[in-house]
């Protein structure tokens, strides 16, 4: 297999690795930042959605094992990088669709947008808790259709810094 073919195979493998807490692949979730393939040595850099996410180690192990299962891969390193923060812009349209089918509301750009009930489309919803079953989900109640629902919670946009008061 030449370098280009191996790189394509590597991306194929990455596409098959799912997040253990959500029904979404790690490419669609936007975790993959960089892939390098040199002489059968593969290095992958991932951007975590949440730094304290307990799934990070599971994902790293899954990626590494999947890469090493490729016949032409001699070495595989997988590391997390914080050069740029993960934002919702990194999630693919297909990923959003998969989460919607699963019943999870997903904001378009940021968490501060008005939430929408994923069952009936109503905006008449109340936040139940900012901290849901995983670090990346908050819980709500729809006042319209009376269903509880969960919404994907991305890390917040930074607060505008206030000048020091003297």
């Amino acid at each position: 297999m030449n370098g280009t073919a191996l790189e394509a195979a590597v991306w194929g493998v990455l596409g098959s690795v799912e997040d253990p807490e959500l029904p979404i692949g790690i490419i669609d979730l936007g975790l993959v930042r960089e892939v390098r393939v040199v002489d059968g040595r593969v290095s992958v850099r991932l951007v975590p959605t949440w730094t304290g996410c307990p799934a990070l180690d599971v994902i790293r192990t899954r990626v590494r094992e999947a890469l090493l299962a490729l016949p032409d891969v001699r070495e595989a390193t997988v590391e997390y990088t914080y050069e740029e923060p993960w934002t919702l812009d990194r999630m693919s349209a297909r990923g959003r669709e998969q989460l919607a089918v699963y019943g999870l509301a997903v904001p378009r750009r940021r968490f501060s947008e008005p939430p929408v009930c994923p069952y009936c489309g109503s905006h008449d919803v109340a936040v139940d808790s900012l901290f849901g079953p995983t670090l990346c989900r908050a819980t709500y109640l729809c006042r319209s259709c009376r269903n509880p629902f969960e919404r994907f919670k991305p890390p917040a946009d930074p607060e505008p810094s206030t000048p020091p008061s003297r």
């Binding site: 050069e83 917040a156 206030t162």
Partner: protein, 258 residues
Amino acid sequence: MSGTARAAADPRVDAAFREWLLRAADDELIIGHRHSEWTGFGPDIESDVALSSIAQEEIGHARAFYAQLAAGGGDADRLAFARAPAEYRHATLMERENDGWEWSIVRLVLYERYEAERLRLLSASGQEPAAGLARTLLREERYHALFADAWLTRLARGREEGHRKVQAALEAAWPEALGLFEETDADATLVAARIVDAPAAQRRRWDAAVRQVLEPCGLVIPSASPKEGGRRGRHTPEFDRLHDQMTEVWRSDPEARW
């Protein structure tokens, strides 16, 4: 790559910056541990899950800081668990036992404002990769402050009893909250190298930020002197007990692979 690449040009600055990062890591680990003690004991299920999640995030942040400190030949687990109590650099506020829900909420409010201030400084420090990590963590910490403020307001603006308890917790926490800004030689080195601001300026911004939350609740800002020591490794017996418990599993088999 060294975790503190740019500062490495001057070994004194590098050592000071590492000290500063170690404080951040230790603050996060120890307050995370204290928050986790609320798991199963929160006043309602949402708050129980929230403080457990905040604990998980703080310990995750500590882990990321330890990993940067250990880059290039250290071991993050050993940094977290193999040091003697006097080698930890967290402020003593972090190690205090949870003394009622209102105490934990007051500590959370005071600490989250401090942390936001520290992460903003680190983001602007030019010290990669720590600055990148700080930019990421700032986004995550916002939710902790929202949770803390909502609970503080609920307790302090409700009945007289709640208000009184919150004021008492504030009086108890305040001197050690000021201890977050304890200055050592490391601060002077970093200020001279223009990597961070003087602790006095940091404290002024923190003071303004916490007043914005506390004063609308009718709480009186205590006038007490700082209680220091943590940044120099002088901790309380409450930390000895926490350390003993926190490191127990690690000590049972230091060579174990997890």
